[in-house]
């Protein structure tokens, strides 16, 4: 065990002495959480609303007041014609214009003109605005409408405010653990190959399994540290509810971290230079995780082929399970499908990389 301890100590020294590595390992997760959690959000914060009404009657006035009182809306101006609206939207002074029909009392219809340069935000805004109008109309004119209009009542379960951070946090976790565990492990093993130190280690009595396992330990420790940071940030800063049980989530994450480490090992057994390891990891890990795991784009709306591909991406299963646990409040036992897929992948990858790791060069 002395040998193993010496190896682990050496790995930690490598990490602590390389400022860039430290930066990636410890600062990047925090930055990503903050950026994705706050800056890159699809949620409605403040809609700058321009009101266009040719005649001011009581109903219109009440409705406008309602918008004014709602803290998600700021009325930027009221106009008699729709003419200034385009200018306002173009200049970014208004996000949306609401145009009331000329004979609103008898024929209540409104037109919403929205800046849809960000389609996700725009559709959220339209959705929210419509619901405000619908609610107001239902209250002010109860049962006046004879036509049997099917009214749809929406209840947004689990994430009623449609906060995108709920969605992003599990995604970022999926990305960060892959990056730290798989990318950094593969690079640190390949570095030894590239610098020739692996040659000396192989010619020594140390068993290759020690060399490999000692590479995993430091990144496992750091990943666990990151898991804690992310959960704390998510809970305290972004108010993400972790309703499914913190222990279960940690166990799930641990499985995923070990899976990522195994993936890193596997990469390191098939490539020989750091540049290839880096490129390979980014191409085969980061991009698929970002694009195909459902982190950003919903898997259900992808073409069938891509959906099949996404099935082999570990991050997909982790993110799915983590979302269920963090937001829907499911327990580890309820996400057993995802958990067992992840475990299975881990075992296979571990076996493959141990089999692939050679006792000799080349």
């Amino acid at each position: 065990m002395d040998v193993f301890a010496a190896f682990v100590r050496k790995e930690f020294l490598h990490i602590f002495r390389d400022k860039r590595t430290m930066l990636i390992l410890l600062v990047m997760p925090v930055v990503m959480i903050v950026i994705f959690g706050f800056a890159l959000s699809n949620e409605i914060n403040n809609i700058n609303l321009a009101v266009v009404s040719s005649q001011r009657n009581e109903t219109v006035r009440q409705l406008v007041e309602r918008f004014d009182a709602n803290h998600y809306f700021t009325i930027v101006g009221e106009y008699a014609t729709a003419e200034p609206v385009e200018h306002l939207l173009r200049a970014g002074k208004a996000d949306m214009a609401i145009v009331f029909g000329t004979d609103f009392d008898r024929q209540p219809s409104v037109q919403l003109i929205v800046d849809a340069s960000n389609p996700n935000i725009a559709s959220n805004e339209v959705f929210y605005t419509s619901s405000v109008i619908r609610k107001a109309m239902a209250e002010t004119r109860p049962a006046t409408q004879e036509e049997a209009v099917v009214t749809t009542h929406l209840r947004m379960l689990y994430n009623p405010q449609m906060r995108s951070s709920y969605n992003f946090v599990p995604g970022i976790m999926g990305l960060i653990f892959i990056l730290i565990s798989a990318l950094m492990t593969s690079i640190s093993i390949v570095r030894e190959k590239e610098q020739g130190t692996m040659e000396v280690l192989l010619a020594s009595p140390v068993r290759p399994i020690y060399i490999i396992l000692s590479k995993m330990v430091p990144y496992l420790v750091i990943s666990c540290f990151n898991l804690l940071t992310i959960l704390l940030l998510a809970y305290l800063l972004l108010d993400v509810p972790v309703t499914g049980g913190i222990a279960g989530l940690c166990i799930l994450s641990l499985v995923y971290i070990i899976l990522s480490l195994a993936l890193g090992l596997f990469i390191s057994t098939v490539v020989n230079t750091q540049a290839v390891a880096m490129l390979g990891s980014v191409m085969t890990l980061m991009l698929p995780v970002m694009l195909l795991s459902g982190m950003i784009f919903p898997i259900e709306s992808m073409p069938k082929v891509l959906q099949y591909i996404s099935d082999v991406i570990p991050a997909k299963w982790y993110i799915m399970a983590a979302r269920k646990m963090m937001i829907e409040g499911q327990t580890l036992a309820q996400v057993y499908v995802e958990a067992s897929i992840l475990t299975g992948m881990t075992v296979v990858l571990m076996a493959l990389s141990l089999k692939n790791f050679k006792n000799r060069l080349g």
Binding site: D2, K10, V200
Partner: protein
């Protein structure tokens, strides 16, 4: 049994024959040099003996153990220093050494006595990062790391390449010292002048051993008359000597040209060159060195 024995070792990388039926033996306690230009197959041979690469055919034993079947035993007994600097650049001198000590299940203290003469050069820099050492210092550290577990056989692949002449001298002094302690040393080098420091040498080219003997015997076996020529226009001189009838071979050797020819041919060459208008022309008889022997063998083996 000898410390290292090989039997028709052969290995090729695609169409390149790195080793062609190499058979040789290194006695216990011998300082054995493998002399050859880049690409001669030295590193391949070292890797096979260090159990890092398997030969296509042929067999090899190190310290009595088979490199294929008993590689674990061998790895316990050898010290291996690869061609390029292969220590951790971001670890300090001390950290590198104690790491390798743990790798071999020992401590610096336990074997300090063996490395002391070498490590004493490094001790003032114990806390310096290995990457910031000079070339000579790096090699001394690598040697210490390869020695820390008291190996019975030491493999040093081009340990003095890229090292200044003074450090090279020191390094070879250290090897002599280690040999006197009974450690078998197999060392490769592209520098022919280092060959004289070995007990026996093998001249290697294109995967083959051309000649194996003591440096003295190899030099003594040089039969041709060897001459050195110098003048104001060395480039033109090389062509003129080469094309002169009766000159067997001519090549640049340091600041001079070495060529082999009979004394009568040299007399005629002298008058011919004087007529060609060379200034400060000198031609003198010189004793052969290992490099001259290497050139001669190269001609013999490869036309």
């Amino acid at each position: 049994m000898d410390a290292i024995v090989t039997d028709r070792l052969t290995l090729s990388y695609g169409s390149v024959n790195a080793l062609k039926e190499v058979t040789f033996a290194v006695h216990r306690g011998e300082l054995y040099g493998i002399i050859g230009a880049d690409g001669a197959g030295k590193t391949t041979l070292f890797r096979i003996l260090a159990t890092l690469v398997l030969p296509d055919s042929g067999q090899a034993w190190v310290d009595g153990y088979d490199v294929k079947a008993q590689y674990r035993e061998i790895r316990r007994r050898i010290g291996y220093m690869p061609g390029r600097f292969s220590l951790y650049q971001d670890l300090s001198v001390k950290e590198n050494l104690s790491f390798y000590a743990s790798v071999f299940g020992t401590t610096i203290k336990e074997n300090y006595e063996l490395i002391a003469p070498i490590y004493s050069h490094l001790e003032p820099f114990a806390r310096r990062k290995a990457g910031n050492l000079s070339g000579g210092m790096k090699q001394k550290l690598a040697l210490c790391c390869a020695l820390i577990h008291k190996p019975s056989v030491l493999f040093l692949d081009e340990p003095t390449t890229g090292v200044d002449p003074v450090s090279r001298q020191e390094f070879w002094d250290m090897l002599g010292d280690l040999r006197s302690r009974g450690i078998t040393i197999l060392v490769s080098t592209p520098y022919m002048d280092e060959a004289n420091r070995c007990d026996r040498i093998a001249l290697m080219r294109e995967g083959e051993f051309m000649q194996v003997d003591t440096p003295q015997h190899i030099i003594a076996s040089y039969r041709d008359e060897l001459w050195a020529a110098e003048s104001d226009n060395m480039f033109r001189l090389l062509g003129d000597i080469r094309h002169f009838e009766g000159v067997k071979r001519c090549y640049t050797f340091g600041v001079e040209h070495h060529f082999t020819a009979d004394a009568t041919v040299v007399e005629r060459l002298r008058t011919y060159l004087a007529a060609r208008g060379y200034k400060e022309l000198t031609i003198r008889r010189v004793a052969a060195t290992i490099e001259d022997c290497y050139m001669q063998l190269e001609d013999k083996y490869h036309g």
